[in-house]
């Protein structure tokens, strides 16, 4: 069950009409290491997690990432909403506008559509949490690229917030991984692996 709350997690008031920046921001909407990938990755990996703590963490970070999808969408929406078709075309968003109008659509900054292949889930808590930690680092790097591309304070503020969240999530996933190592070292290891051919 999920409940929508009719507000953003962080305020977004973008007055800039930097359409090229809107195009670059699509990387964090429908890109490989974007917020949609993050949310769906954690929410689908939670089912095979072995402990209450890891089930909780993946549910909660996966939910927070949905709020980040909304922040990125809001930034792009506010930049493009008053732009003319000609302006969009000049900024390299002509194809995007032709296909999607001013809807938000899950493509990356180059127009490549989002695919489930960006996400892996192998049913192994160590492998999955390692992927999650790598994903947070990749998203952090992309936010640093985006921040380096603009001087607009209205755009930088939410990007800095999202950048900081990647760092916190990385830390929490690292703690969860240590917890899983401790758990696997306990007697539960053989219970969990009993249907595996090696055991």
């Amino acid at each position: 069950m999920w409940i929508y709350e009719k507000k953003l997690q962080y305020p977004v008031r973008v007055r800039s009409k930097d359409l090229k920046m809107a195009k670059a921001l699509l990387s964090q909407y429908g890109g490989p290491d974007g917020e949609l990938s993050a949310s769906l990755r954690y929410l689908t990996q939670r089912y095979a997690m072995p402990t209450g703590k890891t089930k909780a963490l993946l549910t909660d970070i996966g939910t927070e990432e949905m709020a980040h999808v909304e922040i990125i969408a809001t930034m792009i929406h506010q930049i493009i909403r008053d732009a003319s078709p000609e302006e969009l075309k000049e900024a390299g968003l002509g194809g995007y506008y032709a296909q999607n109008g001013k809807d938000l659509y899950w493509v990356d900054a180059e127009g490549v559509p989002w695919t489930a292949a960006y996400v892996r889930a192998v049913g192994d808590p160590v492998a999955d949490l390692m992927e999650d930690m790598a994903a947070e680092q990749k998203a952090r790097a992309v936010y640093e690229h985006l921040i380096s591309m603009t001087r607009e304070p209205d755009i930088i503020a939410p990007l800095r917030f999202l950048w900081q969240r990647e760092i916190v999530h990385f830390q929490r996933f690292g703690e969860a991984l240590q917890h899983i190592y401790d758990y696997l070292d306990s007697r539960h290891y053989f219970q969990m692996g009993k249907d595996h051919p090696l055991y």
């Binding site: 409940i3 929508y4 709350e5 009719k6 507000k7 953003l8 997690q9 962080y10 305020p11 977004v12 008031r13 973008v14 703590k53 909780a56 963490l57 909660d60 970070i61 927070e64 909304e70 969408a73 809001t74 929406h77 506010q78 916190v168 999530h169 929490r172 703690e175 969860a176 917890h179």
Partner: protein, 90 residues
């Protein structure tokens, strides 16, 4: 005049909610890993209490933040009221 005053207090309230909710989310994720950390739990419960008060105050003035049976509505059904977050930016 009334409009600008309402708008300001709406923004102030949402901003306060966002600040307290930020602390709640941080403590929530931390507690997922360290559920026996008593200080963090006390902080979470305190922050949650204040956050609920702020949300109640917001909803009294500006309508429900949540639907699906979470918050009640005045007549007519307020959930459909503009502005929505992506337009308003809060």
């Amino acid at each position: 005049m009334k409009d600008s005053r309402d708008k300001r207090s709406r923004e102030e309230l949402i901003r306060a909610i966002q600040e307290y909710e930020f602390a709640a989310v941080e403590l929530n994720l931390y507690l997922d890993n360290f559920p026996r950390h008593k200080d963090a739990l006390e902080d979470y419960n305190y922050i949650t209490k204040v956050l609920n008060q702020l949300k109640a105050e917001y909803e009294k003035g500006f309508g429900p933040l949540k639907n699906f049976g979470e918050d009640m509505s005045d007549y007519p059904w307020q959930w459909v009221d503009e502005p929505w977050p992506w337009d308003y930016g809060y």
